[in-house]
Amino acid sequence: MHTSRFWVRSFAIFFASVSTWVWGAGTPPISDVDLQFFENEVRPILVEHCQECHSSLKGKVKGGLDMDNRESLLKGGEKGPVFKAGDPSGSSMIKAVEWLDDLQMPPKTKLSALQITTLKEWITRGAPDPRDGTAVSRLTKADHWAFQAVTRPAPPAVKNNAWCKNSIDKFILAKLEEKEMLPAEPPDTGTDEQRRTKKEALLRRAYFDLIGVPPKPEQIKEFVNNVSPNAFEQVVDTLLESPAYGERWARHWLDTARYSDTTGLVAANLRGKEYRYPYAYSYRDWVISAINADMPYDQFILNQLAADKIPQNPKKNLAALGFLTVGQRFKNDDDVLNDRIDVVGRGFLGLTLGCARCHDHKFDPIKQADYYALKGIFKSTSEPKDGPVIAGDPNSKEFQDFSRKLEALEKKAYSAFYQMQRESSEELRKKAAAYFEASYLSFKPADAETSKRAQSISSAQKLKDYLIVDVIHRRIDPRDPILGPFIQLVTTKENRDQALQENLFGKTGAARFNPIVLEFLRSAGPLPNQVDTVGALFEKMMREKVTPAAGTPANSVADPVKDLEHGGIYKIIANPKTIAGSPQQPLMELAVFPFPLVVGSEVSLSKMNGFQGKFGQRYSNELVKRSGMYQINEMKLTSGSGPVRAMVLEDLPTPIESPIYPRGNMPEKGSRPATVPRRFIEVLSEGHTPTPFKDGSGRYELAQAIASKTNPLTARVMVNRVWMYHFGEGLVRTPDDLGNQAGKPSHPELLDYLTSWFTEDYGETKPAWSLKALHKAIMLSSTYQQSSSSLLIQRQQQIDAGNTLLWHTNVRRLDFESFRDSLLSMAGILDPVMFGPPVNLVSEPYSFRRSIYGYIDRLDVPDLMTQFDMAAPLEPNTRRSTTIVPQQALFLMNSPFAIAIAKNVVRRSEVIKAVTNQKDARSGVIAVFQIVLQRTPSKPEFDLAMKFLQSTARKQAEEAAAIAPIAAAGQKEAEAQLKKDQNIANDDGKKAIVNHGDLVARVSLTPWEALVQALMFSNEASYLN
């Protein structure tokens, strides 16, 4: 550390705290408002339009004017000061930017009126300028606590040692004692009844926290009756070993990893093309497995950034790379790379690296060069067309069925692709003269007459406008291998014979044009020079040189499907290796005209997707319709029996460095912006001097730099997140941003203590980076086991209403997944099948799988999920909102899903007895409470429930009669809708997945079912306490 600079920094902070920024001795203070004005409005103008030429830092001080800092700007240039503070009209700077006199600045483009007004306003204000020429801001930024090494503070001394179960408690209690506050009651105190209630609440909390589903009645009973001091520890151990633990905590990580089954490509907003990731789920499944296996968190990171680079890494770990690839896609690759930089920054480091895309980070010590160093890493990678197969037994019947079906779908799609090309080519050949003429005349017509002529030809010959505009126009080019010579025949006027001789039949012509075309023209006799006569010649060539039989086995062109099977023309061109440079190439090129040969070659789904960009929408829409191309991914997404592929990245053979984009904009063509080597960010590198990466793209080196004990952010970020999921709030409340905007942790020493403990290796008992060990440490603390009741301590409510000091347990709403899963679990219908392709969570027929297996459409998250605050999968969003909206209530009241739950709860053996036998009503009510709310009802609650049963039973006949016609109509509609959804032929790629299964029968509820549903409405069913 440089002590002198450190002093400057403290100085700035000191003065900052009196709400005025002071930038160094001798600089007048600048008010908040002015500072904001300068930073927002003025500085961008100076940087973008002035300092290119007036900056000593950039080495250019034209006219002696240096605009880098306040002092030099005040001094002015060779002609003296450029402005008078407070007097814009008397300032030469304003005259220059208004272009009033000879001196016009900036010289090339005048500033906008708004920018000029801004500069005037700034001068009117007295030109407030915070820039004192020293690098104050950057150093201040790096001084933030989160950039300092993690320490191992000793747990503080406390008075009430007996309360403390482990060190966590000491850190918490010390702060409470400081304020003379008391923690809430532990679970093992009070009367029997109170103990039972608290233990039931604790058990429920533990179940939801670790596995996301509630305990079963027998598990509650067992725990309540277990008086062993280790009873809770046993529960925690059991839950951590449950596969459901991975399903719960993987979902948390997927929020951070902005997981989605679709690309969210901007162009797919309107869903014109395939937008689904058929194998995103391989990443989701990897996360579940890794968490269940308690993969050390450092390994977890290494795999997600560089699984392919880790020595002897099992193949299945390649799926981890989905972390980088399941993000949002954009038309612009720079935006895709930005998504990857962003998820690495916020996901692993708690840093908003994306802010440094256009400028040095405004709050954190991240330089723009840091951003582009990382960009170079991801720029040096590519994605293979098909990821490696990581699971699936090729010998199984299912696998083979899948392959057969896939092949059939692909064949159908690709055949349609060829078929449409062939039809277009044939159409063109039939009317080649007219197409030539109409296309030529309508392409940038010189006058209205020409344009009209094109139109009349087109309508007389019934030409297809889209073929002309979307396809042929793209080849109206004198250098085109097929059309070029004919275009030259029309356009070459001067010195015609010689020019044609040189341009067509000379050396360049031979290299450029199709030899069949040239040969035809050589022997065509006198060459015409009018559009119509040239068109006729073109048609003659097409007729003579391209016949269906030419170059293909007999009959093959007649049927493109057969054609593919028998190796006809389209089969041949489908393989560029066969055709490139072969004697058949010229003929093939002619046969597929007006499509370029490359389009015909090696067809694939992604190529068909790309078609729209190449050939306009009308052609593409028709292709989608005829090819059924969406069914390919639909099948991969839904079948589950075929191969599972990993969404990997690979390093380019030759890694590249990224140029630094000025202000985030792509450098102009011809400019030579500075590049930056691939490396880690400065502030987190040793001595702030990073070493350039050498191993390929550098992903493995990057991963190692992140997954390091000495990285001050990585482990802190994760420990804070785990804490957040257990307590409702993190020690730092912004889990994806630990930078300067985050503020200090509520318990900084505790965060460091836990972090250093987390990364430490204690052998068998506690491996390094073990998340399971961290859960256990947290959950075995008294802090975690406190009651949520805060009724008794009104005073503390006043001191710390937000419960920052954790003097009781927070009441928390269940998130979408655990809410839905808990309903399924209480109904006894939760489908325990793990892994595999996604299912539809929101529409009938319902899936009863866990919510983590739900299909997530990035740009169209179903309303149900949004209403329950599901994380938006657009960016890393580790922290969810918990809003309350009436739509949540409507879901519980009216959705067939909620009804299915109520009906199935009543079908459970504990309840069904009571339904059939009035004498068992009592045990039935208790069972219903235990199933839905995971606790025994109190006497008043019991009475209420009984009263409800009696009252609804009395009105049951009336109720059933009233609902019958509504239910019947509903049933009919639902069946019609399902029929429509299940017809795969309707798939235009726009709809979500359709599950298999039954509709929920539309019939009125029994009194017992109504009781269960009412309990589902209660707050307790949706909240943890």
Partner: protein, 479 residues
């Protein structure tokens, strides 16, 4: 300075964590309140913390996330109906007559590629203001005195998807909340039994709340006058229970809730959730009513169908009026078919036919109900089209053009009977009073009583605005 005064990308002033080490900043408290908020009015989680989550007027009555709130200054309009003319409408055929272009039809014109294509439609002076209106808007033409026609808008990137995103969210690529979401975030909504922001169809991206809490997302209603009402809003009615039965269930749950609460601390979230059921119960009836246009007199239904029989626009705009009338803050209606690459004489006429009668009916209807003064109606697409002919042998068309686009606004504090800004003599480039979408957004928010520089949301350590760092309110458009 209040937290909401802070602008993005600056050193925060009073809420900078540097200044309050160890404490939770005002911004993060506000963030907490919003994240853990209540999606309707009338309850006070905020009061627990002694803080208004929006703090727009320095601590007026505490509010829920959707309860109506005062803006930064007095509002000119209470509600907005945004008609999105998807596909990028031509300007010179609709609201920007160009006689020079017609004169040069079929000729090269300076500064443009291709040949000039004069509009096939005649323009006529209408109303007291004498604003010229294309013949394709025969009905709307009768309302020019209420409309402000903007001729100088421009779009940066004339790509449908990107420009639509800009039009809705102000940003070409980042995932930002859209205008409707910002409006409801800033002002809440009057009717707590209906969503505050309703989108009647259109792609998901035009109603996204992005980083704002999900309750600010446009509620998507694929409204179809032919479809049964209950399919319009998911779960809006029960096919299993009568209202009486549900009443009893809710009453039981309420009693259980109060017993439960007695054992814990008072928690505003829990109280709010009880209320959510009451609202949901009422919503079932109210939402069904709102979307049921069969309750309108035949004469009104006929009026909205005039000339627009082909599309659903009439029914959608009628529903929009019913929603606004019931206190919905923002309704968005997408009316497509403006991507007229060929045969404009027919394609543009057809696109106009689907909206001319219905939009005119909407203005008439709002006016006769005294709602026009408090309802802002906006019409516009994502960019404009070239004054020159697109390559086509299927009747002349127009290509994409981002340099000039049109929009109109009416009602809700808009100065009627004016045109604003101008394009060059051929209509392909905005030249006078050029107006960016940010300026349009700033102006719309201003009409709603919101200062676009102060309507901010803190996300990932940065305060975001609809207008980013830009936007100027165009005062000429405001009455």
């Amino acid at each position: 300075m209040t937290p909401s005064d802070r602008n993005p990308c600056t050193f925060g002033a009073d809420s900078s964590p540097l200044l309050h080490p160890g404490s939770i900043s005002a911004a993060s408290r506000r963030d907490f309140l919003i994240r853990n908020g209540i999606g309707f009015g009338g309850l006070s989680l905020a009061s627990l913390f002694g803080l208004n989550p929006f703090d727009l007027q320095g601590g007026s009555a505490p509010v829920g996330m959707l309860s109506p709130k005062a803006g930064h200054f007095p509002a000119k309009t209470k509600a907005v109906i945004q008609i999105f003319a998807a596909g990028a409408p031509s300007t010179v055929d609709t609201w920007d007559p160009k006689p020079e272009l017609t004169k040069n039809d079929g000729k090269k014109i300076p500064g443009y590629e291709g040949l000039a294509l004069g509009s096939p439609f005649k323009f006529e002076k209408k109303g007291k203001s004498g604003v010229e209106v294309s013949e394709i808007f025969a009905e709307l033409g009768n309302h020019v005195d209420e409309m402000a026609i903007i001729r100088s808008l421009y779009a940066e990137i004339p790509d449908h998807n990107i420009a639509s995103k800009v039009l809705m969210t102000g940003s070409p690529q980042l995932n930002k909340p859209c205008l409707g979401s910002w409006s409801v975030y800033g002002l809440g909504t009057v009717n707590q039994n209906l969503p505050g922001f309703i989108s009647l169809g259109g792609p998901a991206a035009v109603r996204q709340a992005a980083f704002l809490p999900g309750i600010y997302q446009g509620c998507n209603v694929n409204y179809d006058p032919q479809a049964p009402l209950k399919q319009i809003l998911p779960n809006i009615t029960s096919q299993f229970s009568t209202a009486d039965r549900q009443r009893e269930q809710i009453d039981l749950a309420k009693e259980l809730n109060s017993m439960h609460a007695a054992q814990l601390q008072k928690d505003a979230q829990l109280e709010a959730r009880i209320q959510a059921f009451e609202i949901a119960f009422k919503m079932q009836q109210e939402a069904m009513d709102a979307f049921d246009i069969s309750k309108e007199p035949q004469s009104i239904r006929d009026m909205y169908q005039k000339g627009g029989g082909k599309g659903k626009a009439g029914a959608k705009l009628l529903v929009a009026r019913r929603l606004i009338e019931r206190g919905v803050r923002f309704v968005q209606v997408t009316v497509p078919n403006w991507d007229t690459h060929f045969d404009i004489a027919n394609t543009i006429r057809e696109a106009a036919e689907t909206i001319d009668g219905p939009a005119a009916a909407l203005l008439t209807d709002l006016k006769q109900r005294g709602l026009l003064d408090s309802t802002l109606v906006i019409w516009g697409g994502e960019f404009g089209r070239t004054p020159t002919a697109a390559a086509s042998t299927n009747g002349p068309g127009r290509d994409h053009n981002g340099r000039a686009m049109c929009a109109w606004m009416a009602g809700g504090g808009v100065r009627g009977g004016i045109t604003y800004g101008a394009t060059d003599e051929f209509g392909g480039r905005a030249v006078e009073n050029k107006m960016h979408v940010h300026d349009l957004h700033a102006t719309i928010l201003a009409l709603m009583g919101l200062d676009h520089t102060r309507l901010t949301y803190n996300y990932n350590g940065r305060d975001f605005r609809l207008t980013d760092n830009f936007g100027t309110v165009v005062k000429d458009l405001i009455a």
